[in-house]
Structure formats: C-alpha cells, structure tokens
C-alpha cells in the first residue's frame, strides 16, 4: 500500500472525531482538502516544488495521530484558539489550498491558534510561542496558525519549535498571515527539534498597502525540515524581507522554498538565506521572485550563500526570477563555497585550534542573518543559540522559559 493511501484511510477513520472537535470554518474545508490530497497524492521528486525532498520517505512511518484541543489561558496576549469570526473570514485565504501537503494539513488540523491585532494597535512586547513536542509513541501533529494584523497594527512574534521526547515526530504546520494596510509584522521561527523529527512548515502571507513584513527562519536542529514561505504583495509601497539561516550536520535535511509574488507596482522585497552543511547533511534552497504584468518599479534582491564543509554534504540552490514588467530592478545570486583557508591559517597561527577557528568563521557567516534582527535582546539570544549549536550543546536552548 502506498503512503498516500494510509493517510486517506486514516482520514476515513478520524473524520468524525475531527469534525466533532474542530470549528465549522475548518470543517468546511476538510472534505475538499482530502479530495485534493487523494487526487494529487504526496508530491514525488518529479514535482518541481518538491524535487529536493523525498516526501514518501518523510511521510512514511507509523505515526499515532494527535487530535489536539487546547485552551489558551493567557490574559493580555492577543492569542486565542479558534476565533470563529477570524476563521470564517480568513481560514484558507492566504495559502495555496491545492498544494498536497497543505491539503493534508487542512484535512487533519483540529484547531487553529488565532492571533489578532486590531486596527492601530501596537503589541509592545514580543510574543513568544514555544512548541514542545511530547509523546510516548511516534506521533504526528497537524498544526494551524492564523495571524491577522488589521490596518496599522504591529506585532513581533517568535515561534520556537522544540521536541522534548525521543520519539519520531511528524509535523505539518500551516501559518496564514494577513498583514493589513500599514501593518508591521516581525515573524521569527526557530527550529530546535532533533534528528527523529520531520517538519513540513508552510507560511503564507498576504500583504496589504504600505505594510512591512519581516520573516526570519532559523533552523538549528532537526531531522527532515521543509519550509515553504510564500508572500503575495497585494498593496503598493509595501516591503517584505525574508531571511533565514540553516546549520545542518549528520543526516539532517533542510529544504527551503520561497515565492514572493509582486502583484502590484512599487513594492520592495529582500531575501538572504545562508546555509552551512556539514557531514552527510543536505541543504536545498529554491527562491522564486515573481513580478506580475504591470507591477512596475518593483525592487527585489535575493541572495543565497552556502558553505559546504563535509565532503559528503550536499547543497542545492535555485534562485529564480520571473518578470512580466519592464521597469523593475531585480537581482538574484547564489554561491556555494568552503571555509576561507587563508583566514583559518591566520587564526591557527595565533594559536586558535582549527575546530575553534572553524566555529568562529561559521558563526561570522551565519551571524549576518541574525544581525538583521532589529530587536536587540532577541538578536543577542539568537547569537548565543547559534554559538551553542556550533559547540554541539544539546542540553539547553539558550533561555526559553522551559530551560530557565
């Protein structure tokens, strides 16, 4: 039996339970989603968007389905589980529902974490969401998050993904983001799970007029990681920045796929992704910038820089521009290299042992991505997390509430 069929069977078994716990707006999409998934199946390596990640392998395995029903008891945070009004209005509106992995998530998601910031509201303190995977058996979870910023609202969110138990975990997550006119969103995602974890994360952002959205994805530990980030610029004069860094070793697999759609004129987008792949790890980056007909005076720059350290490590990179307007300024570039041997020798002459010299150089390379984070305490904390990652420190995660 193929892997896709096991998910169809699983759906048949759990459909009623899911329908009974989840809100109507989510249930309304459920059957359609499983039909989409049944029709398309898990994407093979021949599907352009998934050619670097073997989904058969990633979704194979015998997982227990976790049907979560949580409550948020936080007082002043703008977070609730299942805000019916928001779900009715926005659920499924940002993300490409025809994507088979999104469809799978939509079929199985049982709740949606909703974050809403009203018009002209500024959430002063950054919001941190720490996701700790816990289970006594191999478990799959399908998570859904909806973030809505009304006109001129602003918010900074840090989402921190961790795993506390040594089980196999399969996670799909879909984050839909609506950034209204004049809104300002900083969204940081950090993955620090472990080698038994498979994570398919899709972030889909719709950006209004005059808005600013910054996304920074930092992958430090994991097994198989796939991050899909799509941004649609739907209002003029907006600016979006997608940054990310990856440190992968052992048999880690990290695949990032970004699409920025300039649908209207006069928007700006920036992308900087840096990978360090060591040992037998595989990294992949595919970034497409699409400029629609008429989206004049678009400005876009895309950079992907990678260091392959291990002789058995692999890096695939694919920057893409698709432009249908004639008055635009777009650039893209990609490099794969090794550590600078001249710098390594200089440091060793000063007495710094080779492993430490390597660590300092990698930290400097990756650190550039972290330096773009405007919030100073967060920036410093992330620098420490990167340093610990390089030092091979697994015990703590540099100051999340659980490890303090």
């Amino acid at each position: 039996m193929n892997t896709s069929q096991t998910y169809l069977d699983l759906y048949a078994r759990y459909r009623d339970q899911l329908m009974s716990v989840a809100p109507d707006a989510m249930n309304a999409c459920r059957d359609e989603a499983i039909r989409t998934f049944g029709h398309k199946g898990l994407p093979t390596l021949k599907v352009e968007e998934y050619k670097y990640t073997d989904t058969e392998r990633a979704f194979g395995g015998d997982y227990h389905l976790s049907v979560a029903t949580a409550k948020v008891t936080a007082s002043d945070a703008p977070v609730v589980v299942n805000n019916d009004e928001l779900l009715t209005r926005y659920y499924g509106s940002c993300v490409d529902m025809s994507d088979p992995i999104v469809a799978l998530n939509t079929a199985f998601a049982s709740e949606c974490l909703c974050i809403h910031v009203g018009r002209n509201q500024h959430v002063e303190r950054p919001l941190e969401i720490t996701d700790v995977l816990r289970a006594q058996a191999d478990t799959m979870e399908h998570k859904r998050i909806l973030i809505v910023l009304d006109e001129c609202a602003s918010l900074t969110i840090l989402m921190h993904y961790t795993a506390a138990d040594q089980q196999h975990f399969l996670t799909t997550q879909v984050v839909e983001v609506v950034a209204g006119d004049g809104a300002h969103l900083d969204l940081y995602e950090i993955e620090e799970t472990h080698s038994l974890c498979t994570r398919f994360n899709t972030v889909a952002v719709n950006v209004g007029r005059n808005a600013t959205v910054r996304h920074n994805g930092i992958t430090l530990w994991g097994g198989i990681t796939r991050n899909t980030i799509t941004v649609s610029l739907k209002g003029e004069m907006s600016e979006v920045t997608l940054n990310g860094c990856v440190m992968a070793d052992k048999h880690q697999h990290v695949d990032t796929n970004t699409v920025i759609r300039h649908e209207v004129p006069r928007c700006t987008s920036h992308e900087l992704y840096k990978y360090v792949v060591d040992e037998q790890a595989t990294g992949a980056f595919a970034g497409k910038v699409y400029v629609a007909p008429g989206a004049q005076q678009t400005q876009s720059d895309e950079v992907n820089q990678n260091i392959c350290i291990g002789s058995e490590s692999h890096m695939y990179t694919q920057p893409m521009l698709e432009i249908y307007a004639d008055d635009v300024k777009c650039s893209h570039g990609s490099t794969v290299g090794k550590l600078d041997e001249t710098a390594l020798f200089y440091m060793r002459q000063r007495g710094i042992p080779r492993p430490k010299a390597r660590q300092l150089l990698i930290q400097a390379f990756i650190g550039q991505v972290v330096d773009y984070i405007p919030l100073q305490p967060l920036r410093e904390r992330l620098h420490i997390m990167v340093e610990r990652r390089l030092g091979g420190d697994l015990d703590t995660c540099a100051g999340c509430t659980l490890c303090k």
């Binding site: 600078d340 001249t342 710098a343 020798f345 200089y346 440091m347 060793r348 002459q349 000063r350 007495g351 710094i352 042992p353 080779r354 430490k356 010299a357 300092l360 150089l361 930290q363 400097a364 390379f365 650190g367 550039q368």
Partner: protein
C-alpha cells in the same frame, strides 16, 4: 633558540628552499634579505607550519621541540608569532572574540585557567594603550576595512597580546609610509625583552634603522649565501644583490 638544519621545502611541487641552515639564539635579531622569489616568505611560512608548504628534507627545532611535528597552533603556543605580510580580513569575527580565543587557547595549552571576561577586557585595554592602536580598530571585525598601516599596527597589537618569544616580521615595512613604519617598529621594540628573538624579513635598510639587527643574512635561490653584521644591510642598500651571487 631556533635551529634550522639543511631545510628543503617546496610549494605546489616546486622546490623553493634548497638547504637552509640558520641558528637564532635567544635575544638575537636576525635580518633576512634577498631578491623577490628567493624563498624568504617560504622560509617563514615553513617555520609557522603553513599547510601549503611541504618540507622534503631537514629539521627545525625550537627550544628543543621538533617544530615540523607540530600543528600551526601548537607552534604558536610554543611562542612563535608571525606578523603577516598581508594580514587577513575576517569579516564578522570581532577582534575581541578573536583575541579571546587566541589568548585562552594559549593559556589552556600552558595549563593555565582561561582569563575571566573582565581581566581579558582589561588586558585588551592596557595593550591597546601600550602599542597606541586606536580603540575603534580593536572593536571592529579582524582587519576588516583597515588601511595597510592599521593592519600592520594590528599585527603588533596581537603580538603584544600573545607575548611570543620568537617573532617573524614578514615584510612588515611593505605598504607603510615612514611615520607608520616608525610607529610599528617602536611598538615592536617596546615589546622586546632580553629573551625575545626575531627574524626580520625586508628588502630595505629603512626598517633596520628602527629595528637594529645583530646579524644579517642574504637568501638567494633557496640558500643562505652570505651572513655578516648589520653593515651588510647598508652595503646591499648601496650595491644591490648582484655582487653577492656565487
């Protein structure tokens, strides 16, 4: 004491050093002069253990240690320091982190505790005053965007931080104007004690007006062909190298 015996070395398959013998005793300053391509930089790179250079014959001992069996970092811990002809820019690595790693690695190798943060920063501050380097340079990434003179001054600063017993100054005068040269040379002289020895590589007499050598060698075509007192440097300044050629 550094002792080099019958040293042969090649780089990328080409033999550059063809039997070098050289002894530098504690406290002595030796100048090494010679034409371009004679092997001066090869000799210094072999002493510090650059992986690109392959020693095919001969030996180097330093204070009784077999240098050729040691890694570059171990040679550094033993007290060998090279001021690079072209100091390397390392964007993103701060001078502070770089020096902290270097100082503490050396202390660890010598069986000492790493310096506490406050003690380390005090050492940085004191040393920066001693060698008169702008503190803004010390707070930047290693050599990034430094002028030629600033890079050479930074080499002397690092020397002061690490307190080596044997220093190689590889064309420290190249790319420096007279004032910068004087400052760098004075910095070096300030750091010397009666135990410190050095090998100064230069094309010109000028540097040797500030750092006075005890002995001057001429290296031509991979061999030391002449050794004499400081007057030899002056003679070369006037007459060039041709008269020395065997």
């Amino acid at each position: 004491m550094l002792e080099i015996r019958n040293l042969h070395a090649r780089v990328e398959g080409k033999e550059i050093l063809k039997g070098v013998d050289l002894t530098i005793r504690d406290g002595e300053i030796h100048a090494l002069m010679g034409t371009n391509g004679a092997g001066k930089s090869t000799l210094s790179n072999v002493i510090v253990g650059h992986p690109k250079y392959e020693v095919t014959e001969g030996s180097i001992t330093f204070d009784g240690l077999d240098l050729l069996k040691m890694s570059p970092e171990e040679r550094s811990h033993a007290g060998i320091f090279m001021s690079f002809q072209l100091p390397v820019e390392i964007p993103g690595v701060s001078m502070t982190n770089f020096m902290r790693a270097a100082v503490n690695a050396r202390r660890e190798a010598l069986g000492e505790e790493p310096l506490k943060s406050t003690d380390f920063l005090r050492l940085m501050r004191d040393t920066q005053k001693l060698v008169d380097i702008d503190k803004r340079l010390v707070s930047r990434s290693v050599n990034e965007g430094f002028s030629g003179g600033e890079k050479k001054r930074n080499e002397i600063f690092q020397m002061a931080m690490l307190q080596p017993t044997f220093c190689i100054l590889d064309e420290t005068d190249s790319g420096l104007d007279v004032d910068a040269l004087r400052v760098v040379a004075e910095g070096f002289n300030k750091l010397r004690n009666e135990k410190t020895s050095a090998m100064v590589i230069t094309h010109y007499q000028r540097l040797l007006d500030y750092i006075r050598p005890d002995i001057v060698h001429v290296l031509l075509d991979g061999r030391i062909v002449k050794t004499a007192g400081p007057e030899l440097a002056r003679e070369i300044e006037e007459r060039g190298f041709d008269w020395i050629r065997p």
